[in-house]
């Protein structure tokens, strides 16, 4: 019986700039169903953190409730974590972020956790442009509670028990763009080539980065007729183009002709490179992004890639002008600057 992952790794595993191998970013052995898409997303997160040379203690992973929300146990064991209440991950993330903006905040949620019980929290965290990466592992059902249709189940999708979903689906990417999210992407758990650069870019983004990852539930929603099954998703994927994330400092070696490749410099100096972009669509233009989402829906396609990026908006800290230092480093002198300062403030209010 194997409930423990062997300690041995490939002897030639490369190390990143911090001298860590990939295994330093792993978590416990997953207890999800064998073949669950969520496990692949965990693997993509591990790979991204490794490639981004993240010091594990500089990252906090937060989640709600659901199979998807369990996954933080299965990656980045050396990072901070908070498994919150169902649908409440955004408020916990907001609190943590307000207290210390030096960490990378990685939120993991499910379609149930986000689009049903947590919808109220989700829309507000978008509005506030909290600097975090928010990943929804979207399987169109409540996996943990045995596969009931979720709010992202497509109209007409057939459940494992044979029932056709009558309701309209909530399109989380469309909603996020509509509400002014500043980084919106969609991907598929089975396409790490695309997912990993998206996660890396999301971590580098200075604001709220949302990635909706279609992630088949192999046990309750991988049947014929389901629009979130491996087969259906693979047959209906439509990538907006291939995409590279080039971290700051790394030399850009590829020559590209205008039109063929399109590069966007991110806030932290890293680059996003797009290859062969659809002519009609510009990820920096919200209208064109909206249009692309609507068109895909019309054509029954699942559009993937970085759909929308806005680097101009201020993140929550800038908006409310918080203090730069983590709250736990503030001393009494900082918090209680004394009578002189109080007098000045009071004078200002006269």
């Amino acid at each position: 019986m194997t409930f423990i992952k062997p300690k041995f790794r490939h002897p030639d595993l490369p190390t990143n700039k911090l001298g860590y191998t990939l295994s330093y970013y792993e978590g416990a052995l997953s207890t999800l169903c064998a073949g669950c898409g969520h496990d692949s997303i965990s693997a993509a997160i591990i790979q991204s953190a490794f490639e981004m040379n993240i010091e594990p203690h500089k990252l906090a992973k937060l989640s709600g409730i659901g199979c998807s929300s369990k996954t933080p146990a299965y990656f980045l064991s050396n990072s901070h974590g908070f498994n919150s209440v169902h649908g409440r991950m955004p408020s916990v993330a907001t609190g943590a972020n307000m207290a210390n903006k030096d960490l990378i905040y990685l939120g993991v949620s499910g379609d149930g956790d986000t689009a049903s019980i947590g919808m109220g929290q989700f829309v507000h965290v978008i509005r506030r442009n909290l600097k975090m990466i928010y990943i929804v592992m979207n399987n169109g059902c409540y996996g943990l509670t045995k596969g009931q249709d979720s709010a992202t189940a497509d109209n007409g999708s057939i459940s494992k028990s044979g029932i056709v979903n009558q309701f309209q689906a909530i399109d989380l990417c469309g909603l996020a763009i509509e509400l002014g999210a500043t980084f919106v992407a969609q991907s598929f758990s089975g396409d790490k080539k695309q997912l990993i650069p998206l996660i890396k870019a999301g971590m580098a983004h200075n604001g709220f980065a949302f990635i909706n990852v279609i992630s088949p539930c192999v046990t309750f929603n991988n049947n014929k007729g389901s629009t979130k099954s491996y087969d259906f998703v693979r047959d209906h994927l439509e990538a907006t183009g291939t995409f590279d994330f080039v971290p700051e400092m790394e030399e850009i070696t590829t020559n590209y002709e205008s039109g063929e490749k399109h590069a966007i410099k991110l806030h932290d100096g890293s680059l996003l490179q797009f290859n062969k972009l659809d002519n009609e669509w510009d990820p920096l233009d919200r209208f064109s992004a909206m249009k692309a989402v609507h068109q895909a829906r019309e054509k029954n396609e699942i559009i993937t890639g970085l759909l929308y990026l806005n680097q101009k908006a201020m993140d929550l800290h800038e908006l409310v002008n918080t203090c730069d230092r983590p709250l736990n480093t503030l001393k009494k002198e900082d918090l209680c600057p004394g009578n002189g300062v109080l007098a000045v403030i009071n004078a200002g209010l006269r």
Binding site: M1, P6, F8, L13, C33, C36, D39, S42, S189, T219
Partner: protein, 589 residues
């Protein structure tokens, strides 16, 4: 790449690194598992079938399996495969009932075996149960060949050797001991249907041209002759100061034996650098543990003899220099080094010698005086005569002699039945799923982290005072179990069925050693570079599937697979399964 043909037994055979490397292809992981279950008799019999001398080999084997062991590629040390064999031999119950039971009805054919070493004994064991009348000739008074005359008792107790030689002789072999065969022609003129030559490589190399060789002759000995004299108790002591020339196995046995016969200041002096010595690392360690310094980079120049008495040797110091990829020993120019000695043992190699085979006997010899022998069938140019062991292609080791014996026995049986010698029997193979439940396998799939256990040795004071006291104590049962658990079960194969795969990546994500990649197919060289972990060990195969739904293929690098079964446990569709692969070399008959 073309999809891998797993129906070809050689594919999975190669994955079982130890078994593949073993000349006799002993099913190593199978017997190691039995040891971990304390089934020593069964473990012994698996060995006995393949390598005939488990007790001997569990103490003395050259262990080509261990450098090949997969465990050595994922951590420091391989599984102690060889010493586990001894655990089976030490703790077994009654094994005779599981061996072929004579008398066997005579099939009308007579076979002569010249030499009573492991090669001949293996032929005897394989052919006797088929009804052959077997006559074994050896100049010594007992069977075993070099295992008796050369391998010292402190490494291999006589009782262990006797027991395993007798298992064979008890099959009804007609033995002719104290009988040196002087003429092949005469032998062939008798009514033998086939003759096997297993006479070994009995001639020790000398240094005839070194000044002082003749003057000092009384105290200068050829290593293997001296060891035989010790074994047969013609020699019982040696001087206090001994120099052993040479860096191979014989040198190690000579120096350690000298320590037991009165040698107090025994030195091994070798021409080459320490790292290039032919002796195995463990042999060198054992010698040094017995206070025997190894002096390397010293070339013997002359024996120093005064008034007819050997005083020692003069050596020239050299240093290795690498030129055009070749290693040369160049004198350092320092003055000659004199090392004192009462006795000198020359242990610089052995040669074949066939003074008893007339060149008119119909057996072709090459220009080096070696018989021309077919590498597959062991046949010589004389249809009735077969060669094996050290006599065929020069000195090797016991396990190679055994492997030769098996193959020669097959040929001799085919020959006696008028069948073509090239009609080799195919191996016996079997592939069975090990799945018992969701997380349950019929084998211990956990990978333990223990480092290699060391075998305890008896107190040096005791072992040095008696040449016959065995140095190694062997693993205890408990240590044997623990060491056995280090085995990765490389015979439990990962088997992939492409139609079942939904390309969910679960196996890729779980695999601890990053063996699996789903990728667009390419030529092997390119593919090896593109895998999630580049497959740089080209001696290990890639397992490639037929194209999947997405047109990609599954590629598994066999190199560092832990056979942990996690891929199969995480696969939702059982596209991966763990199958136990049994591969047995078919014997004669």
């Amino acid at each position: 790449m073309q999809p891998t043909d797993i129906k070809n037994p050689e594919y999975f055979h190669k994955v079982v690194d130890c078994q593949y490397a073993c000349p006799a292809h002993t099913p190593v992981p199978e017997y190691i598992r039995l040891i971990s279950q304390e089934k020593y008799t069964e473990a012994y019999m698996i060995n006995w079938e393949s390598n005939v001398f488990p007790g001997v080999l569990g103490r003395t084997c050259d262990r080509p399996c261990e450098p090949a062991c997969r465990r050595g590629r994922i951590e420091e040390e391989p599984v102690a495969i060889c010493r586990l064999k001894r655990v089976a031999a030490d703790n077994k119950g009654e094994v005779k009932p599981f061996m072929p039971q004579g008398p066997f009805s005579f099939n009308g054919k007579k076979i002569a075996l010249v030499g009573g070493g492991p090669a001949s004994l293996t032929v005897a064991r394989d052919l006797a149960p088929l009804g052959y009348e077997i006559h074994l000739f050896d100049e010594q008074f007992k069977g075993g060949g070099f295992m008796r005359s050369q391998i010292p008792s402190f490494r291999l107790p006589e009782s262990v050797l006797d027991e395993e030689v007798n298992y064979i002789l008890d099959l009804g072999i007609h033995t002719h001991f104290n009988h040196f065969v002087h003429s092949m022609e005469e032998l062939l003129s008798q009514d033998y249907d086939a003759v096997f030559v297993g006479t070994g490589a009995p001639k020790g190399r000398d240094l005839p041209d070194l000044p002082g060789r003749n003057e000092g002759a009384k105290k200068i000995h050829i290593g293997i002759n001296w060891l035989a004299n010790v074994a047969f108790e013609h020699t019982t002591n040696i001087g206090k100061k001994v120099i052993v020339l040479g860096g191979g196995n014989t040198a190690m046995d000579c120096c350690r034996t000298s320590r037991r016969l009165g040698g107090e200041f025994v030195k091994v002096v070798v021409r080459s650098p320490y790292s290039e010595m032919k002796a195995s690392p463990w042999e060198k360690e054992d010698a040094m543990h017995e206070d025997i310094p190894i002096v390397d980079n010293h070339v013997p120049i002359e024996f120093v003899v005064k008034d007819g008495v050997l005083k020692g040797l003069n050596f020239e110091k050299v240093t290795p220099i690498f030129e055009n990829g070749k290693r040369k020993l160049v004198p350092t120019g320092e003055p000659l080094v004199f090392i004192e000695a009462d006795d000198v043992l020359i242990a610089i190699g052995q040669e074949n010698s066939f003074p008893w085979i007339e060149r008119s006997a119909g057996i072709d010899f090459d220009k080096w005086g070696m018989p021309v022998v077919d590498t597959l069938t062991h046949a010589s140019s004389h249809p009735k005569v077969f060669f094996g062991g050290d006599s065929a292609w020069g000195p090797k080791n016991v396990i190679t002699a055994v492997a030769h014996g098996h193959q020669a026995a097959i040929s001799m049986d085919l020959f006696c039945r008028n069948l073509p010698l090239t009609q080799r029997p195919s191996p016996f193979v079997n592939l069975v799923s090990q799945k018992m439940g969701l997380h349950e396998w019929a084998y211990e799939s956990d990978v333990v982290n223990d480092v290699r256990y060391t075998v305890a040795q008896a107190d040096k004071k005791i072992t040095l005072s008696n040449r016959k006291t065995e140095v190694e104590l062997g693993f205890t049962k408990h240590e044997g179990c623990k060491e056995a658990e280090r085995c990765l079960n490389c015979d439990i194969q990962t088997v992939f069925v492409e139609d079942k795969c939904i390309e969910c990546d679960a196996c890729v994500d779980i695999c601890p050693t990053t063996c699996i990649t789903f990728i667009d197919n390419a030529e092997e060289d390119e593919l090896r570079q593109l895998l999630n972990m580049p497959a740089l060990n080209t001696s290990q195969d890639l397992y490639v599937s037929a194209p999947l739904k997405t047109k990609r293929v599954m590629v598994k690098d066999e190199d560092v697979c832990l056979h942990c079964g996690l891929c199969a446990e995480r696969c939702p569709t059982s596209a991966w399964d763990m199958h136990k692969f049994l591969y047995e070399v078919t014997k004669a008959g």
